[in-house]
Amino acid sequence: MSTEPTRAGSNVSLRERAYRIRRNALLMGEVQGQGYIAQALGISDVLAVSYFHALRYKPEDPEWEGRDRFCLSIGHYAIALYAALIEAGILPEDELTSYGGDDSRLPMSGMAAYTPGMEITGGSLGHGLGIAVGMALGLKRKQSDSFVYNLFSDGELDEGSTWEAAMSAGSHKLDNLIGIVDVNGMQADGASRGVLDFEPLAPKFEAFNWFVCRVDGNDIDAVVAAFDAARNHTGPQPRIVICDTRMGKGVPFLEQRERNHFLRVEPDEWQQALKILDEGRGQ
């Protein structure tokens, strides 16, 4: 499935899309010399499936009323979302080198007012799911058939507001809301489960009346199947796709770094990383 063409009129595979998203992210990371590059590499497969399989949107009209909403709760993952938005044709590729610079439309932490295609301002963690609940309620009021996707992280499971929103979405039976949790196992202070143990996670959301899928977030076929299951589920309940991902995925020497929440990458390593990525292309 991952080698099949995606979106109408395209013959580019999801695997190729994921490669290009990773490549865009590495090029942006090189501009700053450091950053949330391990998260970006880890979530690229999920973003490829989101933007080239699941989401309904018009690249030339990011605020098209009929679009599915994609909320980035984890503001520091902006580097990954910009990479996907560039690949999706929502952002121009030539702005990539402005990432994190003065007057750029691509600030380090994602903000709705700065960037076309950025639905919300994330970054103060634990906001996204609650905002997504309000958007889902609003879409229902408008009798829209659009979905709200909210991408958040295992670290955000520490925030009480995430659970306020989770309980509310279940209680309000928001069947137009799809949560995506990136379980990459790493937070600012160390391993996520060492910071605060959130497992067992799937039963928690089930107990809050969500439809739950859990997959390897770097297995594109599995992610496609889970996204389809979430969208096509007929129960009157919100849906969540828990994605176990690997930080730094696709660049083994970055995957192996122990403290990789905010990666420092040496100047010569960026080209090395791009080269490794290129070698893995199409495999």
């Binding site: 103060s124 906001h127 609650g130 997504a132 309000g134 958007m135 609003g138 209680s171």
Partner: protein
């Protein structure tokens, strides 16, 4: 200093006032009131504004939003006792083109949900109206419910408009005005049986405007919210002693009507007193003080503040507490006599 909890209080003569007696209303025994003016004004406005939706965090009944919820059950969202979610979801609804009215108590909005109001709503000037009961010292429940610093908190938030209405007459006019305004608003709500005062003065609310309710030669009281009602009572009481008191009502605390306040404060021969139902730190008093100082204005007979002390306040009956902390009519009149 609060008394030790191991010290038994002396029995009170006649039993004293009860905490619960004044939760529901600020009105004196013979005062004219109107029931739930906020809720009824919303119901009226909802007829012409299909975008209006209401949300509450398990306090619809105590913010008069239940009136709206009963009239328009399909336009009311119960968000549960979850203020962070209340504000985030309101932001989400505003993003989808609705005009959400989010209600809770002032303490919970100001303290518990601050980050969510700041980032999810104010940062992008989303069209959310936050209406909060129990602003300042309007309950005897103690610091858990007394929002003595709510204005200070919201004044520091860019894009946020702060409205502090005096009475039912004003609330009825504020509701359509704040919904007509595009952007976030924090409303210090008076609920239940709300006093009716300003109609007798021919007053009309105007967005962003301070208004002279009565003129006077000796003292200018600049006030907002329920303190304007008190200021008018003080003016009456001091008038009996031939002290002539002007009252300038400032319902829009942010942005401040600087031109009107400066023009009034520059008038000769007066003591300027700012009266607010709020701590003296960071509220209307310091806003006016800063304004006067930046413009080199020092009133002829000095500048004073009537407001709550920088303390966690006592629990008890509201009239007792208002008197204890200097914001009752009698206490304010006493202070002004001393200052003159």
């Amino acid at each position: 200093m609060r008394r030790s909890k191991y010290e038994k209080p002396a029995p009170r003569q006649g039993g004293g006032l009860k905490t619960s007696a004044m939760i529901a209303s600020l009105a004196g025994p013979d005062q004219r009131t109107r029931a739930a003016p906020f809720g009824h004004a919303l119901v009226e406005l909802a007829k012409s504004r299909p975008d209006l939706v209401g949300l509450s965090a398990d306090l619809a009944k105590y913010t008069d939003l239940h009136i709206f919820a009963q009239a328009h059950p399909d336009r009311f969202y119960q968000m549960g006792m979850a203020e962070q979610l209340l504000m985030s979801a309101a932001a989400g609804l505003a993003r989808e083109g609705f005009t959400p009215i989010a209600t809770t108590y002032a303490v919970f909005a100001a303290r518990r949900a601050y980050d969510f109001i700041c980032l999810a709503i104010a940062e992008e000037s989303l069209n959310v109206k936050i209406a909060c009961a129990l602003p300042g010292l309007t309950t005897g429940y103690g610091p858990s419910h007394q929002a003595t610093e709510d204005v200070a908190i919201f004044r520091g938030m860019p894009n946020m408009t702060i409205i502090d209405p005096c009475d039912a007459h004003e609330i009825e006019q504020v509701v359509p005005a704040m919904v007509a305004y595009q952007g976030p608003v924090y409303l210090r709500l008076l609920r239940g049986n709300v006093p009716l005062v300003l109609d007798e003065y021919g007053y009309t609310f105007e967005w962003g405007k301070a208004k002279t309710i009565r003129d006077g030669r000796d003292v200018l009281i600049i006030s907002s919210g329920l303190m304007t009602m008190r200021a008018l009572e003080v003016a009456q009481a001091l008038g009996d002693d031939r002290i002539d008191v002007a009252v300038l009502h400032v319902p829009t605390i942010k942005p401040l009507d600087e031109a009107t306040i400066l023009a009034e404060a520059r008038k000769d021969g007066r003591l300027v007193v700012v009266a607010e139902n709020h701590t003296v730190i960071g509220g209307l008093g310091e806003a006016v003080a800063g304004l006067l100082m930046r413009n080199g204005v020092m009133p002829d007979r000095g500048f004073r503040q009537v407001g709550l002390p920088d303390e966690f306040l006592d629990a008890g009956a509201l009239p007792t507490l208002h008197d204890r902390y200097g914001i009752s009519t009698e206490a304010m009149a006493r202070s002004i006599r001393e200052w003159l």
